[in-house]
């Protein structure tokens, strides 16, 4: 082969590329008024709402899969796929009857056996589902439209469990899909929800597309969060993943996207100054900041040391570091439950209302703290954990504690926090996170409040009083009874310092003003949303 042969070959390849590679210009797909371009809070990396419980998966799944019940904006479960339900006087047998005309996206009708398989898979992963499973006699399909769930003891929170919006939600899938091991991922995304998932267009990390499901039968009631009519007014929703907030802000200003779910606070003033963009609070239930303490090892195995930290902390410091100086976006939280919800309480919350460093130092001394390092895991790739970690490090130093500040990424924190080994041997003393306010409205979906030792969430707190009050709440028959038990629970959880709440904060959502119908809620609801050209 000589030089000229190679040159000829390259020329030929170039010609081929030009003729075959660059086809005649096609019309670019314009931004149609029937297509809504949405920037989600995170990448939709998987699409199994039972296997992967991240909020972004739940948010997308709510479009594709329907539920038997849906929680409305008053946090009450309302019928969704169900036409009627009955429960026997002793509370042991629940019978659910499905609505007529429900269809999956593959054209098959929704049958009771699909519900049975779906609830079985869900109950293997969801905390409330696991409780029901533990007291289950049988879950059966009586006929094509009727499901019977027989229990060994009453479960008064049944409808809340089936309609709650916390991950994993009780989504209904076709039986063949729902029979997948709950710890393995499904590969087929067929639901009976108002939109179909366009799997062929899915580019994980970049784009996910949903198309209107023409055969969806909406309820007649007014839409309210996951309840009521899920009327879709657009043909197509494109989720465009943008890891860089500055790019998302620029794209929204430029009209390249229509709705940005979670703009960062720093960029909100820029968005607010644009007359074509609307900005408002995304979710009135907000979020609760938290740092988890490892109860297994010194110094935090001693309640006095835990209380000393709680006594010294200033929630205002955390919230200003995390959200900024816009005080309409945050407030101190002397408790564990979501503000402005029925069970919110401040009982026992005095310790968080005023920072007292001197008293905290005295208590720390009484607790016998002897200067051992406190391993504090801080994920630097999450703004919320990073800012909280910085404040905590400063707080512990002021208290005279020896801080081992481990700056790392969220993936590493996720793995290391599960280690029960001592802090010096791969374990930890504290890490930071946050909880969606929707998860903290009552103890049912609230794993982080559990204090059942080895079975509790990371940190493994033990508090018999907290656990007793959780049981009391589950058995409560009235709102007054529920409130009383939650008050006692809040007090006990603060006394034992199950974890340290760092405050309550809200976040924004932003959209182009040619989009209407966006409602405030714990997840982005696309029903009722429309767009003009």
């Amino acid at each position: 082969m000589d030089r000229r042969t190679v040159l000829k070959g390259l020329a030929g390849a170039g010609g081929l590329a030009l003729t075959g590679g660059i086809s005649a210009p096609a019309l670019a797909q314009g931004a149609s008024a029937r297509t809504l371009r949405f920037v989600p809070q995170a990448n939709l990396a998987n699409f199994d709402p039972i296997w992967g419980t991240q909020y972004v998966v739940r948010n997308a799944a709510a479009l594709v899969w329907d539920m038997l019940y849906g929680l409305d904006s008053a946090l009450q479960p309302q019928r969704q796929m169900v036409e009627s339900e009955e429960v026997t006087d002793d509370g042991l047998i629940w019978t659910f009857r499905l609505r007529s005309g429900l269809k999956f996206h593959d054209g098959e009708p929704v049958r009771a056996k699909d519900v049975v398989a779906s609830l079985t898979r869900w109950a293997a992963r969801d905390p409330m589902g696991l409780m029901i499973k533990a007291i289950q006699n049988e879950l059966t399909a009586v006929d094509d439209k009727t499901v019977k769930w027989a229990l060994k003891q009453p479960y008064p929170k049944m409808l809340f469990a089936l309609g709650k919006n916390n991950s994993p939600c009780a989504f209904i899938m076709p039986e063949r899909i729902a029979q997948t091991d709950p710890f393995k991922q499904i590969g087929e995304y067929v639901g009976s929800g108002p939109m179909k998932f366009a799997k062929a267009e899915w580019v994980p990390g970049a784009k996910a597309v949903f198309e209107k499901f023409a055969d969806y039968v909406p309820r007649q009631e007014k839409s309210s969060w996951l309840a009521g009519s899920k009327q879709i007014l657009i043909d197509r929703v494109e989720w465009i993943v943008m890891p860089d907030p500055a790019t998302a802000a620029a794209a929204l200003q430029n009209g390249e996207v229509d709705w940005w779910e979670s703009p960062i606070t720093d960029l909100v003033p820029v968005l607010k100054s644009n007359r074509n963009i609307g900005v408002d609070i995304a979710d009135p239930l907000g979020n609760i900041g938290s740092f988890r303490i490892n109860h297994l090892y010194p110094p935090f195995d001693n309640v006095k040391v835990r209380r000393a930290v709680l006594m010294a902390m200033s929630q205002e410091d955390y919230m200003r570091a995390l959200v900024g100086d816009d005080t309409s976006l945050w407030k101190p939280l002397p408790g564990f439950f979501t503000p402005n919800t029925p069970l919110y309480t401040e009982e026992g919350g005095e310790i968080l209302k005023k920072s007292d460093l001197a008293a905290a130092k005295k208590l720390l001394e009484e607790g016998g703290y002897s200067g051992q390092p406190v391993t504090c895991l801080v994920a630097q790739d999450q703004p919320i954990t990073k800012s909280q970690g910085d404040v905590t490090a400063d707080l512990l130093k002021k208290l005279g504690m020896n801080v081992d500040f481990v700056a790392t990424d969220w993936g590493t924190v996720g793995a290391r926090r599960a280690q029960k080994t001592p802090p010096g041997q791969g374990g930890w003393n504290m890490f930071h996170t946050w909880h969606a306010g929707a998860d903290c409205v009552n103890p049912a979906p609230y794993n982080a409040i559990r204090a059942n030792g080895d079975k509790a969430w990371f940190g493994w707190p033990t508090s018999d009083t907290v656990e007793k009050e959780i049981t009391t709440w589950f058995e409560a028959k009235s709102l007054e009874e529920e409130k009383a038990s939650i008050g006692r629970l809040n007090k006990a959880a603060l006394e034992d310092v199950v974890y340290a709440p760092t405050g309550f904060f809200l976040s924004y959502t932003a959209w182009r003003k040619n989009v209407s119908g966006i409602v405030k809620g714990p997840l982005p609801f696309f029903w009722g949303v429309s767009k003009t050209a």
């Binding site: 082969m1 190679v6 086809s23 096609a26 670019a28 992967g52 710890f183 790019t247 430029n254 793995a415």
Partner: protein, 313 residues
């Protein structure tokens, strides 16, 4: 030369094997747990452990490595832990945007950098030379993301000439494809242009001192002919070498550029996979990048023979 090319391709196999072992070992000892990420923040430790078992991540290192190598040998890069999609499919989905970005950047670089370097050498010591070299230092010093944000602000937000983000496949038209790539290519190409311009200038300065250039001038050849036909051709070998080495710069820079301009390419796939500890995807991409790099070096060696007939293999 054909046998030389075949020998070089075969020589990539042990390189790839070493890369594979290295990557797999690094990922195995690196902290982080994909099962914890999948399970979500509310999952119990028992849930995380069940997921880990389901993914086979609890198996010993050698068994995991052995089964991965076995699959690779059968042409199967595995399945993403998170998306449940074949790694090959995910890479193929992302190949177009990255390849497009690299081609446009490479063309832009060559079209801008080589003439700049030639002119700088021709006018060595003059204000033109100094201005070009000042731009080169500036381009080399500015981080890609800073250039990216500035370009997006000026040309997309202020003038509204070009889109801020995204990628349009070539099948939807040449201009829609190109307009999404102009700003990212400039941002990514800045460092590359600076590098090639400096190398071109240095090499040209050396060549312009040669006797045959003096002869060409004595024969009355025009300045353009001397610079671009006689001098540049003889300065091409070092330039081609740096262009090849610069491909690694492009691959690294693409990771940042694709994030800034929301281009769904391999760079973003790499970042996402690393942050989530999606081991099969990371392994697949690193193998691909190392293969591309070895291939580019081979192409450079072959290209030498095209510009310099004295080189034979």
């Amino acid at each position: 030369m054909l046998s030389y090319i075949l020998r070089r391709i075969l020589a990539t196999l042990p390189v790839m094997a070493i890369v594979a072992l290295f990557v797999f070992s690094l990922l195995y000892i690196a902290p982080g747990d994909p099962a914890a990420v999948i399970a979500g923040d509310q999952a119990s430790p028992a849930d995380v452990e069940r997921i880990r078992q389901g993914l086979g991540l609890d198996r010993p290192f050698l068994i995991q490595f052995g089964s991965w190598v076995w699959r690779i040998l059968h042409g199967d890069l595995g399945t993403s832990i998170f998306t449940n999609l074949p790694v090959g499919t995910m890479i193929a989905q992302r190949m177009g945007p990255t390849l497009s970005l690299m081609i446009v950047t490479l063309l832009l670089t060559l079209v801008v950098a080589v003439p700049l370097g030639v002119v700088a050498a021709w006018k060595a010591g003059s204000w033109i030379d100094r201005t070009i070299m000042a731009f080169a230092v500036f381009g080399f010093s500015l981080p890609v993301f800073v250039v990216g944000y500035i370009l997006a602000y000026v040309f997309a937000l202020k003038f509204e000439w070009l889109p801020v983000q995204g990628y349009t496949p070539l099948t939807e038209g040449f201009w829609p494809w190109l307009q999404n790539l102009i700003l990212p290519a400039i941002a990514l190409g800045c460092v590359y242009i600076a590098l090639i311009a400096r190398i071109t200038r240095a090499t040209m300065l050396e060549v312009l001192q040669q006797d045959y250039i003096r002869t060409a001038r004595a024969k009355g050849l025009g300045q353009g002919g001397i610079l671009f036909v006689h001098a540049l051709k003889n300065a091409a070998v070092p330039i081609i070498t740096v262009v090849g080495i610069g491909i690694a710069l492009l691959i690294g820079g693409a990771v940042v550029t694709e994030s800034v301009f929301a281009i769904p390419g391999l760079g973003r796939l790499t970042i996402d996979a690393i942050l989530r500890r999606d081991y099969p995807v990371i392994q697949g991409i690193v193998l691909l990048f190392s293969f591309v790099y070895v291939l580019v070096n081979l192409m450079i060696d072959v290209t030498y023979t095209l510009v310099d007939p004295r080189i034979r293999y």
